[in-house]
Amino acid sequence: MTAAVAADRRPPRSRSSARRLRSVRRALFVTLLVAGGLLMMAPFLWMIATSLKTRAEVFATPPTLFPITAQWRNYPDMWNALPFASFFLNSAKLAALNTIGQLVSCSMAAFAFAALRFRFREPLFALLLVTLIIPFQVVLVPNFILYRLLPHPVSTSGNWIGTQEPLWVGAFLGGAFGTFLLRQFFLAIPRELGDAARVDGANPWHIYRHVYLPLAKPALATLAIFTFMWSWNDLIDPIIYLRDVESLTVTAGLSLFQGQYVGRWPLLMAGALVSVLPMIVLFILAQRHFVRGIALTGIKG
């Protein structure tokens, strides 16, 4: 901590011993940070290294860090062991639907809370915030029962259990996190913009569509990325609702894979790596949005 503050001061090059002590400290501090970063990366590197080993190498004594020759065939072997192509399509489809649903429904609610005047606005918003702190498991059973009551035209059970519908339809019915995030952003938009449009005869829908939404693009991008990530990484809902192997998501498929290939670490690591690749690429492309999303809700919370 002391070092952190000291590092801020950027001393000019000097021969004095105090300065030298400082630069030693600084070097130590940077080394520690880099070492910590490597420690954070270690599981990922270990995953990559293991995914390219043979089974014998994995259990070799003395243990090896890197494979002697990279076993690239572990990847097609893993890919063909279970219908991973379907898993990826399912996850991508669900993540896209969830993202669209949240963008539409949360932005509409956020606009109402930020720009419209109506009775019960404050208590309704408070109720929405309360649902933010309720553990979602509390509603797991009634939601399951609700989806079990809803008729479904093509499912074998006749209801929504065993279909992918419970995993995305709810996203079109708003959400506390997204509404809160967008409302914070909408509140920062000068009301004069909406007022001016109003004088020109625009109704609230036009103001929402042509004034607020275009200005809120950064916040919408943040919400889109978060929703995509949550949907992609969700585990409990797929394992509760999905029944056929073909309909599984990447996470649920990986869990099945784990059960069927116990101890076959190279294949399991290849599967884990392939499953996280889309999120890692998304994160690297949109790091700014991740950081902003977390920071925004963090500060104003």
Partner: protein, 303 residues
């Protein structure tokens, strides 16, 4: 005050009548969601918890039987104890490490963005993939951890099946995975601290430690409070880690309340019993959150 000014502006801008109807239109999806998916079902859970219901036959009202049964259910007691242990360790340890890291990462050093990325990567990857790697790291034969410890002559441990080590091992992984979120929030909080306050303290002769103790830390308490709420609520909901690391099913040393709910509701189809456990979890989280919010007047400094 602002509300009054706003309403006057709207009135100047256009007819106020009909705005309620527009609000109903914009809020329709959210209201439906609240009614059938979030707020409404909380009450439904309470009602279901008073019944015995296997989904195949009609629910039978049994009053408080489920709650009484939970009180004497050894597995539920263990689940509660493990969840408390998980929370009591992972929240303070996780927050302390994150705060230290945020202070370090706040420094202006070339290449810091790259190091930051390393810390945030575990946040965006799914717990199942992460837990798979950790299962392999913790593996009793040839796992990375035992190999590294072997270099120092420490005997191999069964990290995930030894009852004393299993929960701490799972907690270590969770802290590693969750660090990034808290670090980001702390970094945002640190960057919001006015530089002139720190400079003024320097001019007054405050050393780095004194500046941290008397300027940075007090101004950071709202952020610490917020990350605390997030971590507290999140830790009571721990499930994914347990589901993956404690396969085929958690022992008494690793079961948590949410796994208990999952097991009873969706494996044994004891809907009433699972609902009663959910409601108890809800009450516990609500009580902890309430006490935590009540405590904020004692240690959180708002500017």
């Amino acid at each position: 005050m602002t509300a009054v000014r706003r309403s006057a502006r709207w009135r100047a801008g256009g007819p106020l009548a009909g705005e309620g109807r527009w609000a109903a239109f914009f809020l329709a999806p959210t209201l439906l969601g609240l009614a059938v998916l979030s707020a409404g079902p909380i009450l439904a859970t309470l009602a279901i918890s008073l019944t015995r219901w296997d989904l195949l036959t009609a629910p039978k009202v049994v009053g408080l039987d489920n709650y009484l049964a939970l009180l004497s259910d050894d597995r539920f007691q263990k689940a509660l104890r493990n969840t408390f242990f998980y929370t009591a360790v992972s929240v303070p340890v996780g927050l302390t490490i994150a705060l230290g890291l945020a202070l370090a990462l706040n420094a202006r050093i070339r290449g810091i963005a790259f190091i930051r990325t390393a810390y945030f990567l575990p946040v965006v990857t799914s717990t199942i993939a992460i837990a798979l790697v950790w299962q392999w790291i913790y593996s009793a034969d040839s796992g990375l951890l035992n190999q590294v410890l072997g270099v120092f002559g420490i005997p191999a441990q069964k990290w995930l099946s030894n009852p004393t080590l299993a929960m701490p091992s799972i907690i270590a992984m969770s802290i590693w995975q969750g660090l990034g979120v808290n670090v980001i929030i702390f970094l945002a909080g640190l960057q919001a601290i006015p530089a002139d306050l720190l400079d003024a303290a320097s001019v007054d002769g405050a050393g780095a430690r004194a500046r941290f103790r008397h300027v940075t830390l007090p101004l950071l308490t709202p952020t610490i409070f917020f990350t605390g709420v997030l971590s507290l609520i999140g830790s009571f909901q721990v499930f994914d880690q347990i589901f993956v690391l404690a396969k085929p099913k958690p022992t008494e040393a690793t079961i948590t309340v949410v796994y208990f709910i999952y097991e009873n509701g969706f494996k044994f189809f004891k809907m009433g019993y699972a609902s009663a456990a959910s409601w108890i979890l809800f009450l516990i989280v609500a009580a902890f959150t309430a006490v935590y919010f009540w405590s904020q007047s004692r240690w959180v400094h708002y500017q």
